[in-house]
Symmetry: D2
Subunit: 289 residues, 4 copies
Amino acid sequence: MKSQIVTFLIKCPDQKGLLAKITNFFYEREFNIVSCQQYVNSIEDTYFMRIRLDAAEAKMSKSKLEESFATLAEPLQFDWSVNYGGKKLNVAIMVSHTSHNLYDLLERHKEGSLDCSITMVISNHNKLKPIADMFGIPYYHLPVTKETKTQQEEQVIDLLETNKIDLVVMARYMQILSSNFINKYPQRIINIHHSFLPAFQGANPYKKAYERGVKLIGATAHYATEDLDEGPIIQQDVEPVTHESTPVTLKRIGADIERMVLARAVKNHIQNQIIVSGNRAIVFPEAGE
Amino acid sequence: MKSQIVTFLIKCPDQKGLLAKITNFFYEREFNIVSCQQYVNSIEDTYFMRIRLDAAEAKMSKSKLEESFATLAEPLQFDWSVNYGGKKLNVAIMVSHTSHNLYDLLERHKEGSLDCSITMVISNHNKLKPIADMFGIPYYHLPVTKETKTQQEEQVIDLLETNKIDLVVMARYMQILSSNFINKYPQRIINIHHSFLPAFQGANPYKKAYERGVKLIGATAHYATEDLDEGPIIQQDVEPVTHESTPVTLKRIGADIERMVLARAVKNHIQNQIIVSGNRAIVFPEAGE
Amino acid sequence: MKSQIVTFLIKCPDQKGLLAKITNFFYEREFNIVSCQQYVNSIEDTYFMRIRLDAAEAKMSKSKLEESFATLAEPLQFDWSVNYGGKKLNVAIMVSHTSHNLYDLLERHKEGSLDCSITMVISNHNKLKPIADMFGIPYYHLPVTKETKTQQEEQVIDLLETNKIDLVVMARYMQILSSNFINKYPQRIINIHHSFLPAFQGANPYKKAYERGVKLIGATAHYATEDLDEGPIIQQDVEPVTHESTPVTLKRIGADIERMVLARAVKNHIQNQIIVSGNRAIVFPEAGE
Amino acid sequence: MKSQIVTFLIKCPDQKGLLAKITNFFYEREFNIVSCQQYVNSIEDTYFMRIRLDAAEAKMSKSKLEESFATLAEPLQFDWSVNYGGKKLNVAIMVSHTSHNLYDLLERHKEGSLDCSITMVISNHNKLKPIADMFGIPYYHLPVTKETKTQQEEQVIDLLETNKIDLVVMARYMQILSSNFINKYPQRIINIHHSFLPAFQGANPYKKAYERGVKLIGATAHYATEDLDEGPIIQQDVEPVTHESTPVTLKRIGADIERMVLARAVKNHIQNQIIVSGNRAIVFPEAGE
């Protein structure tokens, strides 16, 4: 294997000796452990690990490594995945009318701070095409009506499959995806919701925030699941506001929170920092990355 | 009138010339304007003012001032109140088992950073009596059961009335007050709820926060109204948390947020910084106070 | 005068009746007061006001208004300025190699959230030209060496004067401007420094922050003065960091702080929210704007 | 060994196989690894580990464990320490006039959220004795003048030694300790400084913060070293402030930051979360504790 960072994500029942067994496995095969992060959920007796390896001196092929690791994994009941750092994830961004998240992601991508390939922007409107054009990213305009929803989703899925998309980022795409769509991409669709969930689920959160007179507003990035706004939360943040704020100013303040929160969540996903367990997302911090 | 800070709080329909008219009124009567804060709610066309006056050179009596101000107020449809700084508010704290808010309020009171008279602690349990004793504050233990609820509330109300209590602070008092009780003290009961409302209303918010996998937890201080956890929000704050947190650690982190949030809200009330409008609390910032 | 927001900024010795006198002045001339913010510095006995007026019903010309206001201002020793909302400020951005602030400002400008005209980008390097091109903003490449510094500054000043630039934003321009330059634009040059000043003045603040082992890093936007990194602070913010951070990761985290802090400071300037007093910047919050 | 949490802190040159070797060591001796946190400083090629073990099933004595671990440690050049959870640290608090940190620490101690034994309060003034009395903690009043400084420090040291003090907390003790004193307690004296260091070192930081017109103020808890305010930083935090703040209000806002920051730092120390490296403090986060 060439010099590259290999990342294993592991989830299993908690049991004695896990750390020693896993680290030995890699040590014996001449992988250098770059970082190793663990989390034990003592309520559910579950063990989580994110381990990053430098494969420079390892002599195994990928298939041999995986085969060999499976022998360790099976008796210990690992639910595991491995990512070889060499290949960038293909990302599609879906948008409607709102531009700030799109700008932000395209700029970070262009500047090299999001280590993935954003290969397309898909929208049910034509409005944001000039932004995709500025950054030289293909823009697919696929309008949708109540009647054509199923058909339009099929077009979208077709695009995603043809282009081998690994991650879909709903950067203020204001359509509810069908269960059929969502189940095709489990833990591979990230949505940004413009409130600190579970507060203000559904439509018009800034208007609701104004009416409730809250003293802070927020945004939440989460994996999309069948239950709207109920998926595992990856990132959240808030800013203080005052009675002076109107729904319009809340929207403006919120835009900056949404940008930060979505960019961080996409980065977490791309860097293999996340393990989902039930409805909770374990998000390991960066480890000197 | 002696040298003291007189604070007027005014709410009225927005209209031209309000600021000029009000400031002239006080200028002509030789009140020095120490600070003047306004807020216009342009959605509801409503005007709010908090004006603080130095009465050192004013020659009017309180009754003459109020009579005179009423003549200005009536045609302009003011909903107004005045507070003469000389007298400290009498405050009662209600608690059950949880001690951190009680400690915090008593300490701030003792150190002079909460400018009021905390004259009693009322509890349905005996557990926190030693804390009240440490600070030399009378502690009333009034146990409550489902059957004795009405009777116990009457005892509490009796205590509050006999002692001329101006403000009731529910510092983690884990009983739901009856509408009868609450309506006796409109905008004079402050409650602390251990979540960033409207998320996690009702019981066990930290457990719910753990289960939902949120990435921040918070606390909210609000005026108590008939609808539980729905009253006007005075203060809110949050702290970031991670997947590592259990309900137990969330509780511990939350305790420090609760302390800050409740102390700030009580201070806002005591310093006449709040005007309630519908379900929203206008909280003017301190003006060099 | 047409319907527009007129903003007066006033600074004067504190004295009785100021608020009444000023608001009367405008009320009598049929200006509607949209917002009125004051601040009294009781240490220096100085009074500050920002008052925003709706001139729709006022019948005066600008010159008549100013002449008339001067009669009020003189005996009360006002240091004052007035801004008529109709005309957007002309802004020049100066950069070197770092792109994130440039992207951020150009995007906010394009999206309409910075209400000014960014009319040029000036740089001592050619590197960021493609970004200016993307947004269709003229880019002037004016290289500089130790020997050509004076001459290059003259070219810059020439550009600024020819284009009637009102505000210069140093968005990570890594050259120290001469006193001559700076004194030509008092309180009209905003600089972003990548630390929470006064910590880590001068070069390489992220490296210094790593070496000192601080647990938070920040950014500061301030008016440029002759003393490097000593000018009046407009905006500051920080983010928590840990021992895991290297100078490289601090830089990455810091970039997002720098973007927010500089954008807010430019907005404060454009919206006439700032009065400078000595080395302190009074920054009035937005008043329902 | 009884059931208890044993914590090893390790620092050594980075090298291959460290994690496997260390975890194997404990696994083979039947220690259950409760948590294992690592940090690699790639600039200095140094490796840090904090590993917490459940010793319930381990059959070794403490001395045997340490002897055995030394055989592993020596060839790998470990700088290591071990803490056996059974015994609480003895803590002395030193104060002068300011009470908020003292209140806060004594309250947390009393409520059980600081897992140590605060066994004494030492002060150069008598002012805060009533607070120590409230909490039933012995208070030693040891006045100091320029002339008696050496002598008073000897009295303090005597008290600390007689009472086997493990940690000294300078909770706003406004005397500069001599090098002699400080070197007796390396990484065992925690000081709170009322600014976000390295800004505003030395006396009167709030006054300096006002004069500089900063938009945030902070506090820093650090280990005391010979260079005043230059020791390894354990915790820092800030709060936003505005131009409205005077040195007096900054002090009031700052008090709450100081309380949080010092309490967190003391907790970090007590829970063996800190490894000092040069002038930087590696502070591992809590691991499900």
